[in-house]
Point group: C2
Chain length 344, copies 2
């Protein structure tokens, strides 16, 4: 192999001896290259003795198939591209974790693309990654830029979107209704007796959809949104804490606040404890995401659970099926659930 540095201690030294190739193994085992290929990819086609002999040679020589060459030749890259706004957010990380696990077990490798929340450089990112000839793509959250979408459509590969909003998708969707979440929360809070309502929300499109659903459901019950506070993504505990005071100023007695993330809600809860605002006596709170932190707070946070792991797994299985040519539904819905705990 060409001038690539070995690990230390001598970074500039040439690696000794080229990597073992399929023909080396073939020669060692006394068969042709294609037989080695079959031993690895379709062992059932070979006779027992041949198979054994070849695998022994593979083992002995430490042969590692060059997947790049294999991909070029077979036109099957066995790669999936995953585009995620950020993995610093636990909700996305959880879904990606589950997705990658399933993909890995199915023999696919996942290439990670960090998209961010704005559409800047998105088309460039998508284009570059499409150059890897992925067999499928995972989109966490919708694509922002039109150009990126166009590229994807032109690539004619299966695409699954999760955590997406209601805008028209590219191909497959595994998700839930964000507006429906907002409605469910509004009804829950109303039913628990709240009559003054506030919201602390990230101003990303999905959160805003939940907010809209929230507002609509309130109107239907004859109530309305009295105070709202938008914060830029990604949401943090700090912003939750900071939001409490201004929010309380705008709200009537015994208000209910819907937070677009458990992180924001937990921040509210911490600040409430500090300020002596009793929850749920003086204030009720509902979060979103069912994060670990909400479960551990005191009182434990009422929240909406969307199973990120479930979504990731489902997305992976859909994608695999779709790649295999199996018919699958264009939209899959993961149930959401209001988990009532101590804050409502």
């Amino acid at each position: 192999m060409p001038p690539r540095p070995r690990p230390l201690p001598d970074p500039t030294a040439e690696p000794q001896g080229r990597a073992v190739r399929i023909t080396d193994v073939a020669a060692a085992a006394g068969v042709s290259a294609i037989t080695v290929s079959r031993a690895l990819n379709a062992p059932e086609l070979l006779s027992k003795p041949t198979l054994r002999r070849v695998l022994a040679a593979v083992e002995r020589m430490g042969y590692v198939p060059n997947l790049t060459a294999g991909a070029l030749s077979s036109r099957r890259s066995r790669m999936i591209v995953a585009i995620v706004p950020t993995i610093a957010s636990p909700m996305y990380a959880e879904a990606l974790q589950a997705f990658t696990k399933v993909m890995s077990q199915t023999g696919y490798h996942v290439v990670l693309g960090l998209g961010g929340f704005d559409g800047r450089d998105e088309e460039q990112l998508v284009t570059a990654l499409l150059g890897r000839q992925p067999e499928g793509m995972l989109l966490v959250g919708a694509l922002q830029s039109h150009g990126a979408k166009r590229r994807l459509v032109e690539a004619t590969i299966p695409v699954v979107e999760i955590w997406g909003d209601a805008s028209p998708g590219v191909d497959l969707r595994v998700g839930f209704s964000h507006a429906g979440v907002g409605e469910a929360v509004a009804n829950h809070l109303f039913d628990r007796g709240a009559r003054s309502f506030g919201i602390v929300s990230s101003d990303d499109p999905r959160a805003l959809e939940r907010l809209e659903g929230f507002g609509r459901a309130l109107e239907r019950r004859g109530a309305r949104l009295d105070a709202q506070r938008l914060v830029p993504p990604p949401s943090t505990l700090r912003e939750g804490r900071a939001a409490l005071a201004p929010l309380l100023r705008d709200l009537a007695a015994r208000p209910a606040v819907f937070c677009s993330s458990d992180l924001l809600a937990a921040g509210l809860l911490i600040e409430a404890a500090v300020q002596g605002v009793r929850v749920p006596a003086d204030l009720t709170i509902c979060g979103f995401g069912d994060l670990e932190i909400g479960r551990a707070m005191e009182p434990a946070l009422t929240t909406v659970s969307v199973d990120g792991t479930e979504m990731g797994q489902l997305a992976a299985r859909c994608l695999v099926d779709r790649i295999a040519g199996n018919p699958i539904p264009r939209r899959l819905t993961v149930p959401i659930e209001i988990i009532q705990r101590g804050t409502t």
Copy 2:
């Protein structure tokens, strides 16, 4: 370019018209394939008019270079493999996020491998990923299995480890001394007046190293570890909460507890609030990791800050330099810092 059908509604349809290849663009621009290649990879070699003509054709035809073919031919995959125990842990996720960002800006794609905390399937994972011909590898935490290490060494590619322990590494390391963290915390707590010491620790190798350093430093000051509670990784708030009661039973008045993660420490803090244990009056706590949650708690958590973003970025830059053949130090150290806040 001929209109190609969208993925659905017919998942089995052949995409009409092959993807645009470099020769197509070359023909359209009236040049040879290699000229198109140069326009994209070494534009400074071409004359202005030729360059313009080629790029226009590229744009017009929506040409996306096949990186698989390019990698095979040039023996430069422009891929990096990142092996991470899990991205569900914010500390790892943060470092990987930063690493991937830098790599992406430098023209590399990152393939994600989820290793888990035990060594099962690790060698298989590493081997398969090495088949992608990555130009470098990021290891978050040390490799568990000996076989996997051997494979890596044989691959003779640059490797950076972050979040690793003191065991002999494969190539480059960007990190800090875990034992040193334990010592620093012990000294800090002792200096703040604590004389009874406990620990709540994940039982992964890195945390145990910190624990050891903690115990050693205590001994040096004439104190000792009075109570310890080990929990399986990954650490959670819940386990922190659950740990408080048994720990307090074993400790003398005004004890200090070192937690191997801010998550555990925050759990302790929440439980302390619930049980009416005053912090820092009755109990002092130091966490590890400087997670967002610790900053937002009340009182805010004293902790040890290891800048995951910094490590990720540094690791990326090291790897890039190493791949380029630039001499770089085998070990880089990121400073740690005790952030004293309200709990000590």
